[in-house]
Amino acid sequence: MDDLRMRARGLLADALELTPDELPDDASIETVDAWTSLGHMRLILGIEASMAMQLDAALVIEIGSLDDIVSVLQNAPGR
């Protein structure tokens, strides 16, 4: 779980052009100013590249926090 969280934090930090340390544990669209629509799209592309699959449009919208990213990675097929 810690590994997944670290991976999620890395993906989000890369997408938002921040360092992982700058992200709070409760990072979300509401709490991180840099989480813009363009940053969100970069995050989705990053998640998809790391999972080698395309996310469903509904899931693209639902992802709104660091916990959500962990959950998506956790439920990746083949995991």
């Binding site: 052009e17 100013d33 363009l38 592309l45 449009a57 919208i61």
Partner: protein, 491 residues
């Protein structure tokens, strides 16, 4: 004498988020209210009125109100920092700042802040106001320099009305019946092209600027619900929209414009498929020319990277490397258009190099073929195009070098799959403690920038380097600095 806007011919404005619709009569009333507030303040010596809000029907009433009072409207990003507003205040000494709402931008000391919704007009002020002609400055849009040396593009009502008139000729008023604006209203693209053109064509303008991810899901349905005939956007908007929203359930769009950044031929075709029309037009627009001056539609030509079509009024030429100007061939694109700016406000040093003998030097490199079609291949100026927002690297360099912990900074463009380009920066840190402060961390520098400059100008990727590489003549080549940073890696 003041300019009269014919509200009998103007369209209506609807704020989709608020669900409010302002008819031409509502706009006329609110315009007169703003004009009455401003007339005692606006004088020929102090004509500038900053509009610090946008994206609402009130914005247009304030804009028209500034013109009706004989003033020159200065439209700024509503997210402007206090420092940037102070720079603009010192540069223009504006008669007033229109803040739109109580928690609007911080207004410089000594400048009245007005909220048209809140403040009451005095009847006798109807008698005041500055004298205005079509050739007086009417609009200033800042393209850079709000942290130091501002670069404000000045348009007269003549250049704006020329652009709007030409847009209507090339687009046709039927396609402007109901226009959706998802762009900010303080940029030429959103303001002049997407908003003022349909309004002056008598159409209905639907405002939905700053669309959130969750709202984008509803794009197709919203277009059909409101029977939207026209919309414009930047290329970066479309990969997200196509991904999140289903196509409109019935065909309504007659025309789609995409501009302000390079459009790939693949995305161009994807948008046409989604929108259900071939009238998807790759637009070429520059703030200095009141935005759109050329366009290429899939209805007329196959999609091609860099193709921006033929001029919409005026003419184009190329300036080759040997200094020869030709109507065909390769070189820097030069244009003549009736919608050309008057110049940069109080900056002849910036105006003279780009406005020569009636030609505007765009700084873009391209090719004009025998049919007058223009293809852009690159640019000579160093600006970074981040999802349609132009970032001037020199401005960010200078800002960063004001930080006591930074010895030197150099910003550069980096490719990005979502924004097209993003801002990278190489910084050399000052040795040891400076002004009693320890060496700054990247996060500190980023926060420091955020407090002083618009969010889109804050560098995205940061590299600390021992030394910024220079050419053998001691000059900075931004491409070489980027390559050096990429080889070195982040941090």
């Amino acid at each position: 004498m003041s300019i009269t806007i014919d509200f009998g011919a103007i369209g209506s404005v609807t704020d989709l988020r608020q669900g409010t619709r302002w008819t031409a009569e509502d706009l006329a009333r609110a315009t007169e209210h703003t004009a009455a507030l401003l007339r005692p303040m606006v004088t020929p010596d102090r004509p500038h009125v900053v509009i610090g809000h946008g994206g609402t029907p009130m914005f247009f009433a304030d804009l028209f109100g500034v013109w009706a009072a004989g003033g020159c409207a200065v439209c700024v990003n509503p997210g402007i920092t206090a420092g940037e507003m102070s720079v603009i205040g010192n540069f223009l000494n504006p008669a007033a700042v229109l803040i739109g709402k109580e928690d609007g931008p911080v207004v410089p000391d000594g400048v009245p802040s007005l909220c048209s919704v809140r403040d009451k007009a005095i009847k006798k002020s109807l008698l005041g106001g500055a004298v205005r002609t079509l050739d007086d400055p009417a609009l200033i849009l800042f393209t850079s320099g709000t942290t130091g040396a501002p670069k404000g593009v000045v348009h007269s009502l003549r250049s704006l009305l020329a652009r709007i008139g030409l847009n209507r000729v090339y687009m046709g008023d039927a396609s402007l019946a109901r226009s959706l604006c998802v762009l900010p209203t303080h940029f030429g693209h959103g303001l002049i092209g997407n908003c003022l053109t349909p309004l002056f064509a008598g159409g209905e303008l639907l405002l939905w600027s700053g669309m959130a991810m969750k709202e984008m899901v509803d794009l197709g349905a919203t277009l059909a619900e409101h029977d939207v005939t026209f919309m414009s956007s930047v290329p970066a908007f479309w990969p997200i929209a196509l991904r999140l929203s289903t196509a409109p359930p019935r065909r309504c769009l007659q025309r789609v414009h995409i501009g302000s950044a390079p459009l790939s031929s693949a995305l161009w075709k994807d948008v046409a498929h989604w929108a259900g029309t071939d009238s998807v037009v790759n637009m070429y627009g520059i703030t200095e020319t009141a935005n759109w001056i050329a366009g290429a539609s899939l209805a007329d030509v196959p999609a091609e990277d860099g193709l921006i079509g033929t001029m919409w009024g005026g003419c184009a030429a190329v300036l080759s490397v040997d200094g020869t100007m030709r109507s065909r061939g390769e070189g820097e694109i030069l244009v003549q258009t009736p919608s050309l700016m008057m110049g940069y406000h109080a900056r002849p040093d910036l105006t003279e190099p780009v406005l020569r003998n009636g030609w505007y030097h765009t700084g873009d490199s391209g090719h004009i073929d025998g049919d007058g079609r223009i293809r852009l291949v690159g640019r000579r100026k160093s600006e970074i195009n981040k999802a349609g927002v132009k970032v001037h690297p020199e401005e960010v360099d200078l800002l960063l070098e004001r930080h006591p912990g930074v010895a030197e900074a150099c910003c550069f463009s980096m490719p990005d799959p979502v924004s097209g380009e993003i801002v990278g920066v190489a910084v050399t840190l000052a040795a040891g403690e400076t002004d009693g402060q320890p060496t700054p961390e990247i996060a500190d520098l980023r926060d420091w920038c955020r407090a002083r400059i618009k969010a889109e100008c804050v560098p995205d990727r940061w590299y600390t380097v021992a030394e910024i590489p220079k050419t053998d003549r001691g000059k900075v080549n931004r491409d070489r600095v980027r390559d050096h940073c990429l080889r070195q890696g982040p941090g």
